[in-house]
Amino acid sequence: MRLDVIFRVTAKIIIPFALVFALYVQFHGDFGPGGGFQAGVVAAAMVIFYAIIFGLEAAQKVFPPRLVELMVPAGIAIFAGVGVISMLLGENYLNYSPFAANPALGQEYGIILVEIGVLVTVSGTMVAIFYSFVGRGR
């Protein structure tokens, strides 16, 4: 097991940058290609990569299964909650215009909030699915 030193070193070099890349994809999605779906999948892929190289226990120490399973409904709650807030502010469901004085700026804030919800649900779901598949094998 100790012979895979190349994998371990490479993984330790790659993973932080890839996670930062996921955040870049997330928050730069307004201006370049990217968004919540892609960022969620990239982040989940990095967690899976970590679990493959260092073992499931090590990965579950960093990203506990309880947290991951909590992320699955939390993201959709953020998404739907943004809609409810926009209703409380006197607009239609999921119309983000009242979030700022300028309706277009409000739309942009709303898009960022909604994309965070998408990120949380997608990455949580992918990692939870992976954990349950791998946990089944032992």
Partner: protein
């Protein structure tokens, strides 16, 4: 065009191989090729998703399933002639239908004339977001996306329900006979 031909070649490989491990790896290659085709088709967001989802996550999940089951496919008992006939007949009918479709890359087709120009013209004014895909995804069609996220959520919950419970180790009668 060359990429599309490569896609078709890999598909033939996927059909012919019986080693499931090789099939899954070919599926990963297929996904990367598909992502390249999507870049050629100007769908950069989609290509990014396909490269990370199709080649990354789904390949890993397939390999995990192979680890839990078995990696060799048996030869089916019945001949594949009837499915082959059905597939070829369906394909010929569909190819006949393509001659009525507009040629590739035309700008004046109904697909490109109805709602898309509105999004392209008004995205900056309405949302200040230059990436039209993002603004349509999260703002113009936000409710649609909420539904998609709900589908992902539901599928995730269903997988957790199926696989999370304790494994039922009582060997049922069926299980013993098949082994």
């Amino acid at each position: 065009m060359a990429l599309l031909t490569l896609l078709a070649t890999i598909t033939i490989g996927i059909i012919r191989l019986r080693n499931l491990f090789a099939v899954v790896v070919l599926g990963g290659i297929y996904s990367f090729l598909m992502a390249s085709v999507m870049i050629v088709l100007d769908a950069v967001d989609v290509a990014m998703t396909e490269a990370s989802v199709g080649a990354g996550i789904s390949t890993v999940l397939m390999l995990a399933t192979l680890y839990l089951t078995k990696t060799q496919e048996t030869v089916p008992a019945h001949t594949p002639l009837l499915p082959l006939f059905v597939a070829v007949a369906t394909g010929l009918v569909l190819v006949f239908g393509t001659f009525a479709l507009p040629p590739f890359g035309a700008a004046d087709t109904p697909v490109n004339l109805n709602v898309a120009p509105y999004y392209l013209e008004n995205s900056i004014r309405d949302t200040l977001v230059p990436n039209v895909v993002t603004s349509v995804l999260a703002s113009y069609r936000g409710f649609d996306t909420l539904g998609e996220v709900a589908v992902v959520f539901t599928a995730g919950i269903a997988v957790l329900m199926l696989l999370k419970g304790k494994r039922n180790m009582k060997p049922g009668p069926k299980r013993r006979r098949v082994r």
